[in-house]
Symmetry: C2
DNA sequence: TCAAATTTTTAGACTTACCTAAAAATAAAT
DNA sequence: ATTTATTTTTAGGTAAGTCTAAAAATTTGA
């Protein structure tokens, strides 16, 4: 059974691997986990001995199949717990992360399977991120940033990039939520702000907002 | 915030204090936690510095009010999680302990308050043990061992002493459960076995069984 | 009561997961 | 192509929580 720390390293490497081609650098992992590069080197050696990562000195790390499966399972647990907290325990989507960080390390296969069923086998967490299945398969759906949508086009909100409380509470205030249709009415070339319509509400959002909302094109 | 280990020590001392008058001995704690006396001495010193226990060398420990409140809160969490597992997640009462041992160390006041409400503010866990309230008050209900009930008297099952899987599964098999009425029909002086009736079922139980079931007298 | 048995504490060591500071390797730039 | 800058690793150290073995205190009992 892996320690909480080992699981957190695998999870971090998993997340960093989504966008990266080559091996993940020691520094990148250190930044992700808010720790020092030397600590990462130590841990990566240990994970390598356990055959959870491939590690060549000075050349970064890659998850093995075994490591990837464990990482996906930790993420599965994290996201299922988030769904439980929001749907059954009245948590807001900006309150779930910290608790889910703890809950994701509870070891009980039965617990997570039963919870999955209890929640009706959800496919996404409250932020729109896909929940890996029992075997660690994850469904990366195609999504674009709202900022890339052309004027006069419509799109549906499917996720968020930034998950900070400040940002999520801003979205709540503007009534931007998963599944909502967003129409792009105007784009301002000067600062890349855009005028959008959600339902009957029309308002302007900054580029910073638009680059943190994931959408799926209509049709 | 206390570590998992510190919380476990406080919980162990709390449980041992229920029956003890004097301070709890180092050895008793070591046995309860399956560790060594020397480790207990170390930890007890630390808890003493934090003013969670009173400790005098060679004379055992006692919880302070602060320590007792924390211990009761850990037990509260443990028992609420047990209720959730049994009532919502299809766990049997012999399967909950190990997972609850992990879950009791999750830190989130909101989580436990919401869960309490979600479960309808239960007063007892699946084994009949009382759940402490938010302030750490615990309702020790008066209960007797089934073995002490006189012939021709009736009593209601309110708890179990032994919580091993073997014992709990035996109870399931015999359909002995919390809230069931048990009539004592005969007692055998030779081996202290008793003939009992539950519903329409009549059968004999050994003294060992009878001294591990808590009951409340009818009336 | 005072020696023997038991309990408890101390002393020193180990593991995990960190850290800092310095050395080594790699990458960038003139 | 070297020098410079950056990244990564090594070396050595710390804190929490555990252990074993030996010393000290307490309890038991003849």
């Amino acid at each position: 059974m892996l320690s909480k720390s080992e699981e957190n390293y695998l999870k971090a490497i998993f997340h960093l691997s989504v966008k990266a081609e080559k091996g993940i650098s020691t520094n990148a992992i250190a930044q992700q986990l808010d720790t020092k590069a030397s600590s990462v080197t130590d841990m990566v050696k240990k994970l390598s001995e356990k055959e959870l990562v491939l590690y060549v000195k000075y050349q970064g790390v890659t998850l093995t199949d075994k490591g990837e499966k464990i990482a996906a399972n930790v993420i599965r647990k994290h996201r299922l717990w988030e769904v439980l907290l929001v749907q059954k325990f009245n948590f807001n989507w900006d309150e779930v992360h910290e608790v889910a960080e703890q809950l994701e390390h509870i070891h009980s296969k039965k617990l997570i399977d039963e919870m999955d069923a209890f929640l009706g086998f959800p496919k996404h967490d409250p932020h729109g991120d896909p929940i890996p299945d029992k075997d660690g398969n994850i469904n990366f759906l195609e999504k674009s940033l709202l900022s890339t949508i052309d004027v006069n086009m419509k799109a549906v909100c499917v996720g968020v990039k930034d998950t900070s409380s400040d940002f999520l509470r801003y979205l709540d205030k503007q009534e931007i939520a998963l599944g909502k249709e967003i129409a792009v009415l105007e784009k301002e070339a000067f600062d890349n702000s855009m005028l959008i319509r959600i339902g009957t509400n029309e308002f302007t959002i900054s580029q910073q907002i638009a680059t943190n909302i994931y959408v799926k094109n209509k049709e």
